[in-house]
């Protein structure tokens, strides 16, 4: 487990962590709590680290060793406290603080290596030649037998160190930690380095009536990323295998010009895509105990982040080269003041809170792109040594959205048995129109502790039984940008005026002056059951949510609009599901213990409508919109769409022609026999033609499970997750099986035998995506310590990505099956080779 995201995987029902099946540490990580509820964005849950608003990228830099606890809030009443920011769920992280038990120091270290265990099996050099000869095709023979996976990969290395010390007393304590990670992945150019520093202090005063929390958290990371992942893996698979691994004696690369969509993978390793991120945030929280049952808290935080991107393409990849530098900075100012009251009268207990908060963000950016380099030696370090920086290649930006909220909430409980809570919240944003600035989002919930009823008090084997239900609304603005409602203008081109090139200005988008909050209403009902001293625990919840006034870039007619998209609140979408969690402790003895945690979530998403009223006009939208297609040689445009957004269906469905089998074609191979579904006598592959809904891209069911077993000082833990009910379009298989690309491009080992000379898409390549994946297996040994100075010592060994059980024929079913984007559900030549991580861990506490 390298970071906090690994900890989240498999922990909670309804939470899906996707790492795009490629690089587990890439910042592409996305988390979905209860699926996608908004098309435009804002589906990533809010991450709160010690009260400070954060994001998933920062979460991924947190060390598991620094985490005290994390809580996932999903229901509207639970997230009400965070308002619109928490509309898509909240992950609350509490980090470790000083314990107040005197000086402690601990070290955790992890040392591992990564090795590739599976990659695509393409024709080898001799097989390639034999196939070309057999087919009588004109081919290029470079005289070598190269497996390009060897060219781009290496044994990955990862080591990380985490040192923490804490001290102080009950009234005043601190904790400081330092973390460092160095990770060289299995792909030669792909490295990560991360340094994390964290300091927290707590001080109590006035007999404990005032508690002050102060914290600083910062990280600095360097990322050497792959410039174009698909280009690299496409080239690695499809390059002519008879070419040498590197350049010739004169430094020239042998070109395979006819394969214009790929390059020699070795050349691509010279491209650079580096970034450097710095993040600093600090917070100060004060809690006053004003009266016995009245508390005032004040919290303020400041965050600064800076990202520098640098990219470079040498002249042997792009004819005039390409250099890009970008600097992006962000500052967040956040304050929250809350007054809370609680009191108990006899059997009644009341808690009430009012709070207000304000968040101001400032985002600035500056970027330059240049072409026409005269030497490759500068890489991206001297952008002045370029000849061309045309219009649009240099830019800067400024944005300062702000958010203000007022909230009141109260919870009343009777005999600790019945509880009712209600919150009323008002969120205001600068980004919606002036007459819709504030949105009102109420919520209410009820809970009933049945175990406390007389009825169950004598039933000993039932240790817990609680019933809860709630209904609430929350607002979402995620994914929209500042100034959407303003009729503003920007530079939009450069023309010759009176002989001089002149920058012109004008509108660059349709303006929607009536933009308002997207609203999500959620109903949930569930129970928690504990049996036999909670050795069997069962929790289950059903939810239904409906997103209305759905924010989306709707298609609008041109004319009368000048531009074809309009950010508006028109459509609606629903999500529903059941979540189930089971925790069993079959063995619980002094020397032996076993824990089984299992969670499962069933989700159903439906796009209800994209049509409705806008400014008194009835807007109609196409019911079928393509969102994902294939890319590659012979696959640019045309009838190449695979994944669609269809009204009445889940977001992301496969809408494909139906293939009934293979048939011989007139060029000596086989073609897909496509069915004339509408029986009009012609086969029409276009969007409105012979296609049908062939399945959904997002899983219907996801599971996560942790199993652990301890015997004396030894323990074993396994983490497993899985997903079911979805499909994957195996575009990689389609492209690398199609013999019409041969011999310009290499093909899979079984392609010559299949002899398919056709690259039309159809359900022939649509496969079930079900899988169970064993994420981690860890074996640990807690060394029994008699020493007074060493409190604990633990040694462990772990394997990550141990095994995947699946019927999917491609490299891995763990592609993007969650995030609605152009890659959803499509395995298309971009999959990272599969690798395992073997690591040894050492941790000691003094």
């Amino acid at each position: 487990m390298n970071n906090a995201l690994d900890v989240l995987i498999g922990q909670s029902a309804g939470v899906n962590v996707t790492t795009n099946g490629t690089d587990r540490l890439a910042m592409l990580n996305s988390i979905r709590v209860r699926g996608t509820t908004s098309i435009i964005g804002g589906n990533d849950p809010l991450v709160i680290i010690d009260g400070v608003t954060s994001d998933i990228a920062t979460l991924s830099t947190i060390y598991p060793a620094d985490i005290e606890s994390f809580t996932i809030l999903k229901n509207a009443t639970e997230t009400a406290m965070y308002g619109s920011r928490g509309a898509s769920g909240v992950i609350e992280i509490k980090t470790k603080k000083g314990t107040g038990r005197g000086f402690q120091i601990s070290y955790d270290g992890n040392y591992g290596f990564e090795s590739m265990y599976k990659h695509l099996q393409m024709l080898s050099g001799p097989e390639y030649i034999a196939t070309a000869e057999a087919l009588g095709l004109d081919y290029n023979n470079g005289g070598y037998n190269t497996n390009y996976h060897d060219v781009i990969t290496r044994t990955g290395l990862i080591h990380q160190h985490h040192l923490a010390f804490s001290g102080g007393s009950e009234n005043s304590n601190y904790r400081a930690s330092f973390g460092f990670m160095d990770h060289n992945t299995i792909v030669k150019v792909n490295d990560y380095q991360n340094l994390v520093v964290k300091l927290d202090a707590t001080q109590k005063a006035f007999n404990g009536r005032l508690i002050g929390d102060f914290g600083v958290y910062g990280y600095s990371s360097k990322i050497h990323d792959i410039f174009d992942t698909r280009m690299l893996f496409y080239s690695t698979a499809a390059q002519n295998p008879t070419y040498p691994t590197g350049p010739d004696a004169n430094g020239n690369w042998i070109k395979n010009s006819a394969a214009s969509h790929i390059n020699h993978p070795g050349i691509l390793l010279d491209e650079k895509n580096d970034s450097k991120e710095m993040n600093f945030n600090t917070h100060l929280g004060l809690k006053f105990n004003l009266l016995d049952n009245l508390n005032l808290s004040a919290f303020g935080s400041y965050s600064y982040s800076s990202t520098g991107n640098a990219q470079f393409c040498p002249t042997w990849v792009w004819a005039q080269g390409n250099v890009y530098r970008g600097e992006f900075k962000g500052e967040d100012y956040f304050t929250n003041i809350a007054l809370s009251y609680n009191n108990t009268w006899g059997d009644s207990h009341l808690e009430a809170t009012v709070s207000s908060e304000y968040l101001k963000q400032v985002r600035t950016g500056l970027w330059v792109q240049a072409k026409g380099i005269t030497t490759n030696d500068f890489s991206y370090n001297n952008i002045g040594a370029t000849s061309s920086r045309p219009f649009g290649a240099t830019g800067s930006s400024y944005e300062d959205p702000s958010l203000a909220s007022i909230m009141g909430g109260t919870t009343y409980s009777y005999k600790n048995r019945y509880a009712v809570s209600a919150t009323l919240r008002s969120d205001g944003s600068s980004m919606v129109s002036d007459n819709n600035t504030f949105g009102f989002f109420p919520s209410v919930s009820l809970s009933w502790d049945i175990k406390k009823e007389n009825l169950l008090s004598d039933v000993d084997f039932v240790t817990m039984l609680k019933l809860r239900t709630g209904y609430g609304q929350s607002g979402n603005l995620g994914g929209i940008k500042s100034y959407t409602t303003l009729n503003t203008v920007k530079e939009n081109g450069i023309v010759s005026i009176n002989g001089a090139p002149t920058v012109t200005m004008g509108s660059i988008k349709n303006t929607n002056p009536n933009l308002k909050w997207e609203t999500r209403s959620t109903f949930n009902i569930g129970f928690d059951l504990g049996l036999w001293s909670n050795r069997l625990m069962l929790t289950s919840e059903f939810y239904y949510s409906k997103t209305t006034d759905m924010l989306y870039e709707y298609d609008v007619p041109v004319p009368s609009f000048a531009f074809d998209k309009l950010m508006a609140n028109i459509g609606s979408m629903s999500n529903q599901g059941v979540e189930l969690g089971i925790s069993v402790v079959p063995i619980q003895r002094k020397d032996m213990e076993m824990n089984i945690n299992f969670n499962m979530s069933y989700q159903k998403n439906k796009l209800l409508s994209l049509s409705g009223e806008y400014n008194g006009m009835q807007m109609t939208a196409p019911n079928i919109t393509p969102i994902g297609s294939l890319y590659g040689a012979g696959q640019n445009g045309g009838n190449n769409n695979v994944v669609y957004q269809i009204v009445g269906q889940p977001l992301g469905v496969f809408y494909l022609p139906h293939c009934t089998g293979l048939q011989k074609n007139d060029i000596g191979g086989y073609s897909y026999d496509i069915k004339d579904l509408n029986e009009d006598g012609t086969v029409d592959l276009s969007d409105g033609g012979d296609r049908y809904i062939a399945g959904q891209a997002t899983p219907k069911v996801t599971i996560g499970s942790n199993l652990s077993f301890r015997y004396k000082f030894f323990d074993v833990a396994v983490q497993i997750n899985g997903a079911f009910g979805h499909k994957i379009f195996n575009g990689t298989g389609l492209a690398y099986t199609n013999m019409s690309i041969f011999p310009d491009y290499n093909v899979l080992k079984d392609a010559p035998e299949k002899n398919i000379i056709d690259q039309n898409i159809s359900d022939f390549w649509l496969e079930k995506g079900d899988y169970i994946n064993i994420e981690h297996l860890t074996v640990g040994f807690n060394v029994p310590m008699k020493s007074k100075s060493v409190k604990s010592l633990r040694l462990s060994a772990s394997i990550s990505n141990l095994a995947t059980i699946t019927g999917y024929s491609g490299l891995t079913p763990m592609i993007n099956s969650y995030v609605v984007s152009s890659t959803l559900g499509i395995d298309d030549k971009r999959t990272y080779p599969l690798y395992r991580t073997y690591a040894l861990g050492f941790s000691v506490q003094f």
């Binding site: 219009f391 944003s429 100034y483 010759s496």
Partner: protein, 538 residues
């Protein structure tokens, strides 16, 4: 106390709301950019010239792919992009273009529609802006600015009716969505002609193709050329029932020109003559019009100014046509696509002993040399284009990579950016040789002899005399204007576009000519259900 709380609550609400207003710094409000005459010219008039060329698919009148140019060229007997093994299948896009099997759902058709109408709506907006801010303008400025915008708008409507037939005529920025209805093609045609005639004398009577104050602008001669074009195609544009088999007669279509009633052919001739009067003439060297520095051509009338260091517009066609190694030898790269059809190279006399002199200026065929050196392919063999081996699907052919004569025409700019897609040659949209051929054709159609004009064009390239029959004129238009994006319009005018030609076989139901206009994009209909699909399309 209660009062205090009330004041407190109101104060908080006010503070919060005031903290929630936006104050953009990297954008401006419209009042700031239309604040004086000069800025109104830049941001309401000249801004529209950004859209003449393009740098993305389906945008620009010429230069990019999957847009106007492709629909006017790759659907004809002039050229095609054949399927070459793994390349150029692209979901059947190019094959369907050549065979006329396009579909209302085709994305490039929708993108082209969006591009053309974007410019219409922005032109309407400019007119509205000029009116709103007219207090910054003198009467002369206002008239001149409006004239230029209206001319640009008419230019785009010309391309729209040529492509889509029955289309919405939107002439005001304030026009509500539910008032966007289709007009008959003839009605839009009359609107375009009237607009152009009204504004032509308000525009600067200057050369647009030369660098300087009028570079790239729609000036009087540009409008004259366009009016000649419209008159020449009047029979087509005035025919609102193009599938009923009843053609219009150009001799019975009248225009008022300089106070005279003239029929379509006379009108065309009159506007062509105005270009001659303005001093346009054939360049001695055919190729000079397409040179890297072609800004001083006396023949070019309207061009898209290109400069790799200044402007965003691009020119992809050489890049798209040449073999990979051919592009590589020229310092860029290439896509090995577009090829001249066999019927085209045969028209030039390729393979005979009487090859038109323009063949080698317009095409690469046979073994290719760059800087005196033969280009070698990756397999070590010389690169040789085989014009007569072209087939729609070359997969499995020994000439899969080399079949087809490739596009030359434009001088290669060896310092191009973007792998050869950003050269400095201005893209030629209108030129005088075309005006001469238009005049020859109009004369022939009006019962006169256009041989003088036809042979002025032929003489320049050293080709022998031909009589100005309609057939010869159509062939001359191919020989002279190949790769310039006119072929579809010419074939439609000659009633040949929907027939079988070259390797294309007429579609079973195509006899009524419904494919002479493209379908209204399905998405446009979905978004505006008041629009009706063109006849013959589902």
């Amino acid at each position: 106390m209660r009062r205090f709380y009330n004041i407190f609550a109101i104060a908080i609400a006010m503070i919060m709301t005031s903290c929630l207003t936006e104050d953009p710094r990297d954008q401006l409000y419209e009042d700031d950019i239309y604040n004086n005459a000069n800025n109104i010219y830049i941001n309401a008039v000249a801004v529209l010239y950004n859209y003449i060329g393009g740098s993305a698919d389906s945008e620009g009148l010429q230069g990019t792919c999957r847009g106007l140019y492709d629909y006017n060229t790759l659907t004809t007997d002039e050229a095609m992009i054949p399927i070459r093994g793994g390349d150029w299948y692209d979901g059947g896009l190019w094959e369907n273009m050549y065979q006329h099997k396009w579909n209302p759902n085709d994305l490039p058709l929708y993108n082209t529609w969006k591009y053309l109408y974007k410019v219409i709506v922005l032109s309407n907006k400019s007119l509205s802006v000029i009116d709103k801010y007219s207090h910054h303008l003198t009467i002369e400025q206002k008239t001149a600015y409006e004239a230029e915008v209206r001319a640009i708008r008419a230019l785009f409507y010309y391309y729209i009716i040529d492509m889509y037939g029955r289309v919405p005529l939107v002439t005001s920025y304030e026009q509500a969505q539910n008032e966007v209805l289709q007009s008959e093609r003839s009605e839009v045609f009359r609107f375009i002609v009237n607009e152009l005639q009204e504004v032509m004398n308000l525009l600067p009577n200057e050369r647009s193709n030369k660098m300087g104050n009028y570079y790239g602008r729609v000036t009087t001669p540009v409008v004259h050329f366009l009016l000649a074009k419209l008159a020449l195609n009047a029979e087509i544009y005035c025919d609102d029932n193009w599938t009923d088999g009843v053609p219009q007669n150009g001799k019975e279509i009248f225009f008022t020109v300089d106070g005279e009633q003239l029929n379509a052919w006379q009108t065309c001739i009159r506007y062509c003559d105005k270009l001659a009067e303005a001093g346009y003439q054939l360049e001695g060297d055919y190729s000079y019009n397409f040179a890297v520095h072609n800004e001083n051509s006396n023949e070019n009338i309207f061009t898209i100014p290109l400069d790799k260091n200044l402007y965003a517009a691009q020119f992809w066609y050489l890049f798209r046509s040449r073999h990979y190694n051919h592009g590589g030898a020229l310092g860029g790269s290439s896509e090995n696509g577009t090829s001249a059809n066999i019927s085209t190279v045969l028209a030039y006399g390729y393979g005979t002993d009487k090859v038109d002199t323009r063949f080698e200026k317009n095409f690469y065929a046979g073994i290719v040399e760059v800087d005196g050196k033969t280009i070698m392919m990756d397999n070590g063999k010389p690169l040789e284009y085989h014009p007569l081996e072209l087939k729609l699907n070359l997969t499995g052919s020994p000439y899969v990579k080399t079949a087809g004569a490739r596009m030359a025409k434009y001088e290669v700019d060896r310092t191009s950016h973007s792998d050869g897609r950003q050269p400095d040659n201005d893209i030629v949209l209108f030129r005088y040789a075309d005006a001469l051929l238009m005049k020859a054709e109009a004369k022939a159609r009006n019962g006169e002899d256009g041989s003088l004009e036809l042979n002025e064009v032929r003489n320049r390239v050293g080709m022998p005399y031909r009589k100005a029959t309609l057939e010869n004129i159509l062939e001359e238009r191919l020989l002279e204007l190949v790769w310039e994006g006119w072929r579809r319009q010419d074939l439609v005018r000659f009633g040949l576009y929907h027939k079988s030609y070259d390797q294309r076989i007429q579609l079973p139901d195509e006899g009524n000519g419904y494919t002479t206009v493209f379908p209204i994009p399905q998405k446009s209909i979905d978004l505006n259900p008041k629009l009706k699909q063109n006849v013959g399309y589902k």
